[in-house]
Subunit: 292 residues, 2 copies
Amino acid sequence: MANSQTLIADRITAAMGSMTSSEKRAARMLLARYPAIGLESVTAFAEQAEVSAPTVLRFITKLGFGGYPDFRRALRDEIDESRKFPLTRPRSENLDAGSDFGNELLEVVRATLAELDTGLVEQVIELFSDERRTVNILGGDLTTTVAGHLLYHLRKMRRSVFELPEMVQERSDRLIDLGKKDIVVLFDVRRYQEDVVTTARIAAQRGCTIVLFTDQWMSEASEVATHVFRAKIETSSPWDSLLGLTAIVEAIARELDRRLWSVVRPRLEAVERYKLNLLAQKEADPSSERHR
Amino acid sequence: MANSQTLIADRITAAMGSMTSSEKRAARMLLARYPAIGLESVTAFAEQAEVSAPTVLRFITKLGFGGYPDFRRALRDEIDESRKFPLTRPRSENLDAGSDFGNELLEVVRATLAELDTGLVEQVIELFSDERRTVNILGGDLTTTVAGHLLYHLRKMRRSVFELPEMVQERSDRLIDLGKKDIVVLFDVRRYQEDVVTTARIAAQRGCTIVLFTDQWMSEASEVATHVFRAKIETSSPWDSLLGLTAIVEAIARELDRRLWSVVRPRLEAVERYKLNLLAQKEADPSSERHR
DNA sequence: TCTCCTGTGTAATGTATTTTTCAGATTCTG
DNA sequence: CAGAATCTGAAAAATACATTACACAGGAGA
C-alpha cells in the first residue's frame, strides 16, 4: 500500500457511498472499534458487526484491499507509523514552546524512574559493594558522558574502578584479563555500537558479571547481560536524552552511599587529605565547606 | 479497563530476567515494533526477531499468556483502551518508583527548567550559531561529564568546538591564544574549583565571551561571565545531581538544532559517509537504521 | 573428557482462518 | 405482480496458522 498518508479510516468514509447496507454496518463497526477489530479474524469481525464473513470480505475488497491479510497488514503498518511519529515528524511545524520540551524532559525522567526495578537496584548495589570485584566501565558515543558520571561516583566510593579504553585495540588487551570476579558496566542506546555489543559478548564468555544500561528498545548486549537497566531516551528532539540514564545512575549512587557510608566517609576524608598535600596550598573558598 | 493497569510492555520488562538470550531477542523486537509485530503471525514475528517460531511461543508463554491468540487478544484490547484515552499510556498510578528520591530528582529538573531564562537561551543559541567563533569547553571534577555532553552536541552540529585541557599547564598554553572572537564555556558547581575560576578570569581578560553553567549559589566565575545558567543540584543525597545541568544542555541542543537544522542535516550526513568509509564495513543491525 | 542439562530449531500435526461457491432472500423495475 | 438484478449468508474448500514432538547443539559440572 503506497499511500500510508491516507488513513484507512478516511478511505472508509470516502467509499461509504458505494456500500450496500450490510457493508455499511461492517464499516460502522470498523470505525467504532478502529483499528482493533480489523485485527481480529474475519469471523469475529463479522459477528460483532452482525453480518456474515463474506460480507466483511466484500467490504474490505471494496476498500481496495486484495484480501483480508492485506487489509490487516495495512492496519499494522498504520500502527507502526503512529509509533514512529515523533521521529519522522516534519521539522517545521511547532515553533511554540521550549516549556513544552521541558515537560518532555520531565517525562523522560518520570517514565524512567517509574519503570525502575528497585530489586534490580538492590542487586547491583550488592555487586558494587564488593570491593574484591573490579568494576570496568564503558560507554558509547553518546553515553560515554553518563558512563563517566557513574565512574565518578564509584571511584569516589570504592577502589578498583576503571574505564575500559575507547580504542578497540587497547580494549582488547584489557578484556583478556577479565575473569569471573569482574564486573563490566556497559552503556548502549540506539544506534547501538557494534564494538560495545562485541565487548559484552567477550566479557560474557570470560564469565564476567555484566551490567547494562540501555534504552527501551534494548541493545543486543542485553542477550548476555546479567543486569539490565532500561531508560527512556526519546523526545521530540532528534537528539536523544540522557536524563533517564543519569537519573538511574544518581539513584544508584545515592543508594550505594547509604549502604556504604561508614566505609565511604573515611575514604573521602583520606582522599581530601592527600589532595591537599598534592596541591600544597590551603583551601581558599569558604563556601566550599558546606558539601560533605 | 480490567488489565489496563499492566501494560504488556511493562510485563516484558518484568519478565526479562527469566528470559533466555533468544527469548530476549524476541522481546527486544516486540518492544521495538510494539505492538504491531505482535499482531502478525508467529512465523512473521519469529523471522523478524531472527529466532524460530517455537522460541517466540515460549517467550509469550513466559509472559503469562495461554497461547498466541490469547496474547494477540491482549494487544488488541490494549489498542482499544488507548483509543478511549487520548494519552497513549494510562497516566500513571504511583510514579515515585518506590522511593521519594525519584521525586527529588524530578524536582531538580522541574525547578531548574522553571527558572530557565528563555531569553538567555536565545542569546547563547545566537552565539553558538556563529561558526566563526571558536567554542572552548571546560568542566570541573563532577561536571566534566555534562561538559562532555554539551561538547558532544556542539561537535556534531558545528565546527571549531574544543575542550580545554584538564591539566593546568596544558590549559595555560591554550588560554594564551584565546581572543575576542572566542567563546569559553565553563561548568562550575559547589566545591568550586579554583582553577576553573582562574580560567574564567584569564578568559575575561582576553576578551572572550564566557558562558557559565553553575548552581544556585553561583561560582565566583559568574563575576566575569557574560552568560550564566543556574541549575538546581541539591538533593537529600550527599552527592549533587547533574540532572538540572543536563536538562539545560539538552534544551539548548534541541533549540540549536531547530535553528541550524538546514546546516546540521547535511553535516551529519557527511559525517556518516566518512564514518562508513573509515570503518569500511556495512551496517549490520537493521534496528539501528531508524534514528536520524 | 564425558555426561547431563538447558536452550534452540526442524519438521510434523492438528486447528483456525480465509476464501469460494452457490442457493435463498430481498429489492427494484416495468 | 412477475422477473431480473442484486444482495446476503451457510457451508464447503483451500490455505495459513499455532502448536507439539523431537533431535541436535553447546555449555556446565563431575
